[in-house]
């Protein structure tokens, strides 16, 4: 493992943590509001898995940073522009089609990413990825199953699933578009090769969309880069709700 890139190593792990944390918070908003009791529990289970992964990754990021920040400080005491989650994860829940499409696009990416990170030269990251990979297989089974039902369902469910994919598609570009941090981490044997991730992601997306009778949206001329701290209008409100307790009562615990 290279010792010359501590800052990039920290940021790389922080990105992974933030995407999981923000999506877990989003899914948590649905608890008590899902279309059926069984889906309520299903979504809560996914949210808790993602939160568990986020905690492990944040704790690891805190160690890599070496400034004494623990998982809680990283989660609750950073400002919006310091969050490095993919903008896909901060998108609102919308209708069930939006929630499922977002989850499917994310799970399809994560399963490819974790598959590689399980071989990372960073042993802690490799262990977290190996554990998370099992959870992600189930998440993808859940979200892909639902996307097929919605796409290949009624006229209305098909139209809504299609609209959700169109809305979310610009937010998928950054997932597989490497920047200098991704490139450096891959070169150091710590991070994933996003070109390989993209091939796996493309294949999974195309297979499931075909089964769901949904069309793949065209690649948009604009794109988002949450992993650089550039966010849309939604993240701020999500963080306000997530962080309010810790900011109002610093150090509160039970």
């Amino acid at each position: 493992m290279s010792a010359v890139l501590p800052d990039r190593h920290f940021l790389y792990v922080l990105r992974l943590a933030d995407s999981n944390l923000v999506l877990a918070q989003r899914l948590g908003e649905l608890i008590g509001h899902a279309p059926a009791l069984e889906e309520d529990l299903g979504i809560a289970n996914v949210a808790l898995d993602l939160l568990g992964q986020a905690r492990l990754l944040l704790a690891h990021a805190g160690v890599l940073e070496g400034r004494g920040r623990d998982e809680d400080m990283l989660a609750f005491l950073r400002a919006e522009h310091e969050f490095l989650n993919a903008t896909l994860t901060e998108q609102p829940n919308g209708d069930f089609g939006d929630t499922i499409a977002r989850q499917f696009l994310y799970d399809s990416w994560q399963i490819e990413l974790y598959g590689q990170l399980a071989q990372s030269a960073d042993p802690t990251l490799a262990a977290i990825a190996a554990k998370a990979l099992k959870e992600t297989r189930y998440h993808l089974r859940y979200s892909a199953g639902w996307l097929v039902r919605l796409g290949d369902g009624t006229g209305e469910s098909h139209a809504r699933a299609h609209a959700a994919l169109e809305r979310l598609w610009p937010h998928t570009v950054e997932l597989c578009d490497p920047d200098d941090i991704d490139a450096a981490m891959f070169a150091a044997g710590i991070g994933a090769d996003l070109a390989t991730v993209r091939r796996g992601w493309d294949r999974r997306i195309d297979e499931t969309l075909a089964e769901a009778t949904l069309e793949r949206p065209a690649t948009p001329p604009w794109r988002w880069y949450g992993k650089r701290g550039e966010h849309g209008e939604y993240l701020g409100r999500l963080l306000a709700e997530m962080q309010v307790l810790q900011r109002s009562h610093p150090g509160a615990s039970w």
């Binding site: 279309p35 059926a36 009791l37 069984e38 529990l41 299903g42 189930y138 089974r141 199953g145 039902r149």
Partner: protein, 96 residues
């Protein structure tokens, strides 16, 4: 879901450990068999309750009629010799 129709009911059976039988734990609604397994997993195995799940459409279960309980079960009541209570069970046998 403005045109919501009820999903069919499935009965859920969980095997807690290898060597044990699947036991009935409850029921869930689901649109199809695959969703039924996922719902059963999400609702009934959140606390490591099982290693295997069966789901059966509730409408496929044929049940005895409670009104016939006397005719079906009463005759067994006075036949104590059918109970294998006269054997010593070895300590090694855990789940008989």
């Amino acid at each position: 879901m403005s045109t919501q129709r009820e999903w069919p009911l499935y009965e859920v059976f969980i095997r807690a450990r290898g060597g044990l039988d699947h036991k009935h734990v409850g029921s869930i609604h689901a649109a199809d068999a695959r969703m039924a397994i996922e719902h059963a997993r999400d609702v009934y195995t959140r606390r490591q309750e099982g290693i295997s799940i069966w789901v059966v459409k509730s409408s496929e279960i044929v049940a005895s009629d409670p009104a016939e309980a006397d005719a079906l079960f009463e005759p067994a009541r006075d036949k104590v010799y059918r109970h294998p209570t006269f054997y010593d069970i070895p300590d090694e046998v855990k789940t008989l």
